[in-house]
């Protein structure tokens, strides 16, 4: 059990600069990785650095980073729809008090306090693309939450301009037009509020759709770093690039096309009472078909912003090699869900906008872990999540559901064809081991065409028995309990599929056998 809730003093707030992060991850880190010969040698030998924070069963514990949800036990449709929400969005029955405004940027926004005293960040959809950012953020955040990550509450809400009240202490950040000092901050006036509303609601609608995200409880201490640990957090003892839930996040991000994976889109919140940090993923406006202020493009998810490999290929081919994303037409079938495509999507080639070290350390075991979560979502659960986007056009919502289902299945088919898909080992009655073939149970392989090679080994490696069977249960011979433990080597056999064994460690107990460890050899 990972115990990362010990009381710690308030850490210093981090404020990393995006430019430096891009330079660091795109160049400095890449060069270091290229010259890290131990890492390269292990990768070439098929023995890459594996994740650190796994237990004897290859799993991560519930922690301030991750909580097992749909991947372990199916969530109800209501729970999927509810997501992390405790308040159900801002209270629209009373007035909203504006405490902070933002007129800089493409889309204006402000911070309000609702009648229940909860603070929300209100963001408007980009001009010309109603419902795009607000709907996308609501759906993607719920799926990410159901996958197990900590995310804030995002919801679609409706603003009534006549119920907005300006707080006397309200401030506003504005564009100055001066390139040297582009942003200024001052007290907000009624005229500012009117101008901001006119920008967001030029036609003067009495009810405006917005995206609302509730401010997280606790003290904001900035984003968590992608490399290493947070030195002022004594609970943070696994390097982040070697955490399984962050490596496995690659699979979830590729599913949601959540490419805007910069440090700024993470957040550590300090609980002043319990005195520890909780680690969040924030800002899902640039995922699926949205790029926050515009629809997504074919390039998103296909290449890093600074993609050295693609540049090298172009250089040596004199530009004759044209990547698929360069040729793909930017067709928008439904502007409210943005640009969605799966034809270019290859589950192992998906790329975030900026390199993320944890993603670059992804191993097959991490991929299996993430694929298990992504494929755990049923069609009904995906449909339930999409309803939270409140898309006014049912066809647009159906199109988004189709996109998510197709991408989920592509991920499942790809990764489950490359790893040992056996999981969920449990003793039925002390003498029979049952396992689940995830590829079969989730519809990516045919049960009739699948057999299982079972080999029992002594601790010294001598074979006790070897067989190939159709069943997903193994009867353990009572005579084996003369050994301190035995190892079952299990390999599924299918056409055009080759996997390495998963080793299940079993220890004899007075009342039968007990599973004491699982080791994957992928």
């Amino acid at each position: 059990m990972e115990t990362d809730t010990q009381a710690i003093p308030l850490p210093t707030a981090r404020d990393p600069k995006l430019v430096l992060e891009i330079l660091d991850k795109s160049f400095d880190y890449q060069i270091k990785q290229a010259f890290d010969l131990p890492r390269g040698a292990r990768k070439a030998a098929g023995k890459p650095y594996e994740a650190l924070n796994v237990d004897a069963f290859g799993e991560v514990s519930n922690s301030t980073w991750f909580t097992h949800r749909n991947g372990r036990a199916p969530m109800s449709l209501d729970a999927i729809r509810r997501g992390p929400s405790r308040m159900g969005g801002p209270d629209t029955s009373g007035v909203w008090t504006v405490v902070k405004g933002k007129s800089a940027g493409v889309t204006p926004g402000f911070t309000i306090m609702d009648a229940k005293g909860q603070r929300y960040l209100i963001k408007f959809d980009p001009p010309g693309y109603p419902e795009l950012a607000s709907g996308t953020e609501a759906v993607a955040s719920r799926l990410c939450y159901a996958a197990g990550y900590h995310v804030p509450e995002y919801s679609v809400s409706y603003l009534r301009p006549d119920r907005l009240v300006l707080s006397p202490q309200a401030t506003i950040t504005m564009e100055t037009g001066d390139k040297r000092a582009p942003i200024s901050k001052r007290q907000m006036t009624e005229a500012d509020l009117a101008a901001l509303l006119k920008k967001a609601n030029p036609t003067g609608q009495p009810r405006v759709r917005v995206g609302a995200s509730r401010f997280l409880d606790g003290t904001d201490v900035g984003p968590w770093p992608y490399l290493g640990v947070r030195m002022d957090d004594a609970n943070d003892f696994y390097s982040h690039e070697h955490r399984r839930e962050l490596r496995g996040l690659y699979i979830i991000s590729s599913w949601l096309n959540h490419a805007d994976m910069k440090e700024e889109n993470t957040l550590d919140m300090y609980d002043p009472e319990k005195r520890y940090l909780t680690h969040y993923l924030i800002d899902f406006g640039a995922s699926m078909g949205s790029s926050s202020t515009t629809p997504s493009t074919p390039r998103r998810g296909q290449a890093n912003s600074f993609d050295a490999k693609h540049s090298f290929v172009r250089l040596i081919t004199l530009g004759l090699y044209v990547y698929g994303y360069e040729k793909a037409p930017l067709t928008l079938r439904y502007p409210s869900v943005g640009y969605l495509e799966n034809d270019l999507f290859k589950p192992n080639r998906w790329k975030p906008m900026y390199p993320m070290p944890a993603f670059e350390n992804l191993t097959r075991r991490d991929a299996f872990w993430g694929t298990n979560i992504v494929t755990s979502f049923t069609d009904e659960q995906i449909e339930a999540a999409v309803t939270t986007g409140a898309f006014s056009d049912p066809q647009a919502a159906a199109y988004l559901v189709k996109f998510l289902k197709e991408r989920r299945d592509r991920i499942g088919r790809y990764w489950f064809a490359r790893v040992n898909t056996l999981d969920r080992f449990e003793m039925l009655d002390g003498s029979t081991l049952r396992f689940t073939d995830l590829a079969v149970s989730r519809g990516y392989a045919d049960a009739r065409g699948t057999r299982y090679q079972v080999e029992a080994l002594t601790p010294a490696g001598a074979t006790l028995c070897k067989d190939t069977q159709d069943e997903t249960t193994v009867r353990l011979d009572p005579a084996w309990n003369t050994h301190p433990h035995v190892v079952l080597s299990l390999v599924p056999q299918r056409q055009r599929y080759k996997a390495r064994p998963v080793l299940v460690y079993l220890k004899p107990q007075p009342n039968g056998w007990r599973v004491i460890g699982v080791r994957r050899t992928d």
């Binding site: 160049f27 400095d28 010969l37 131990p38 004897a56 040297r180 390097s239 040729k327 906008m353």
Partner: protein, 448 residues
């Protein structure tokens, strides 16, 4: 012992491998558990496994530091850049430039300091121009730009530009300018296509140029008329390496300088082939100017310039072939002369990039540039990209219109990089080769 290059490569490879094997070995503690990644302590089931990376490391030996030296060296520039950005550059921006901007009176709207290309033209070397741009007035502001530039070779330019927009609706502008240039080392090799590189001479030129232009935009068509006045002062070259033009070519017209009055008409019809792709224009530009001598009747000539440029898409997207043709001609009026310094000239970073600056001079000149551009680094934001360029330039000068001959064309070729955004080209870096030389140039402005 003589070793072939294959043997040398093999030996070098083995040496490198031999040097890094200990580093690979030391990178990880070797254990049975390490072979499958996670060690399971079977005697205590349920315990968190001890991962090799969590085991305490021994002190790193000297040879491992040596093995990692390439990484340390390679990351040094990035670390330095990061340090400067954190510690230095922000301070300068916040306390120096911004503070100066704040002192400007409030009636001067849209004010900002600009740092521009300091190059004063072909061959002036590295330099920087600092200017102030702003606008006076609120409803119909007059835009003002003042700048000064100095290069390492002491070329200097001081310029004041005023632009009054909004004449005849929103389509007309009146622009006035005063510009002073001092150029102490201008090249001259004689006139004609057959001049020798060994005949390299230099002269000094100071020029005060002022004028007024009225321009009008109608859709893509832009027309303008202008009048200008230029005072040329010519003297012996300021360099020590080359002889003075005045002593080497004593009979050249215009060696004593000239004051010229001019009037002209220009028309241009540009069109961008791809929205957002800077440098993908095609179009035509025509310019006709006439000049006469302010001090007498010695000089008088007309100048005609035709520029055609075309972009051809290749393969896909941002891969384009770009052509530019420029034809220039100066034609004397009657028996009047043409000062040598106003003749068309070729050579330098905007014309024949593999030749010396102002390498060829004569009354007529033709030039053809061809470039193949494709993105090397498509940043994927705001159409920003770093392009690779492969180019060929060819051209020649001639005393008469029928004196052009294919065999006399001067040709160069080269490659370069080009950084562009949606709005334009920010910088270019070219390496060009010709039979006479190989040249490297950096330009902080648009193509050609």
């Amino acid at each position: 012992m003589h070793l072939s290059w294959r043997q040398k490569s093999l030996l070098l490879g083995l040496l490198l491998l031999g040097a890094f094997i200990p580093a690979v070995w030391a990178g990880y503690p070797q254990s049975e558990a390490d072979s499958v990644g996670v060690a399971i302590n079977l005697s205590e089931p349920g315990m968190i496994p001890i991962h090799p990376l969590l085991l305490p490391r021994k002190g790193r030996p000297v040879w491992e530091h040596a093995a990692r030296l390439p990484i340390t060296l390679l990351e040094l520039p990035f670390k330095t850049t990061g340090y400067l950005m954190r510690k230095g550059l922000n301070v300068i921006e916040a306390h120096h430039v911004t503070a100066r901007v704040q002192q400007i009176p409030p009636w001067l709207v849209r004010r900002h300091i600009v740092v521009e290309n300091g190059s004063q033209g072909d061959g002036s070397g590295f330099g920087v121009a600092v200017g102030l741009q702003g606008a006076v007035g609120q409803t119909r502001p007059v835009e003002i730009a003042v700048s000064s530039a100095l290069t390492l070779r002491t070329y200097q330019t001081h310029a004041l530009h005023l632009r009054f927009s909004g004449i005849a609706g929103r389509h007309g502008d009146i622009t006035g300018w005063v510009e002073y240039q001092a150029r102490p080392r201008e090249n001259f090799f004689g006139t004609g296509a057959q001049t020798l590189a060994q005949d390299h001479t230099q002269f000094q030129q100071a020029r005060l140029h002022t004028g007024l232009a009225l321009s009008y935009r109608l859709s893509r068509l832009q027309v303008s008329g202008l009048i200008d006045w230029t005072d040329f002062d010519i003297d012996a070259g300021g360099g020590q390496l080359y002889p003075s033009t005045i002593s080497r070519f004593p009979d050249l017209p215009g060696l004593s300088g000239a004051r010229l009055m001019g009037a002209g008409f220009e028309a241009a019809y540009p069109e961008r082939l791809y929205q957002g792709l800077a440098g993908s224009e095609r179009g035509i530009k025509v310019a006709v100017h006439t000049y006469w001598d302010v001090d007498g009747t010695r000089y008088g000539f007309n100048r005609y310039t035709l520029t055609l440029y075309q972009t051809v898409p290749m393969f896909w997207g941002d891969r384009i072939l770009v052509f530019r043709f420029v034809g220039s001609m100066v034609d004397p009026r009657g028996k009047r002369q043409i000062p040598f310094f106003v003749m068309p000239r070729l050579g330098g970073s905007t014309t024949l990039r593999g030749y010396a600056d102002l390498r060829f001079w004569d009354r007529n000149a033709v030039l053809l540039n061809a470039e193949y551009r494709y993105p090397l680094w498509d940043i994927g934001w705001n159409r920003t990209a770093l392009d690779v360029i492969w180019f060929v330039d060819t051209g020649m000068v001639s005393p008469t219109g029928d004196g052009f001959a294919l065999r006399a064309l001067a040709t160069d070729y080269g490659a370069g990089l080009r950084f562009r955004t949606k709005s334009g080209v920010l910088a270019r870096l070219n390496v060009a080769h010709s039979p006479e030389m190989t040249r490297f140039s950096v330009k902080l402005e648009s193509d050609f």
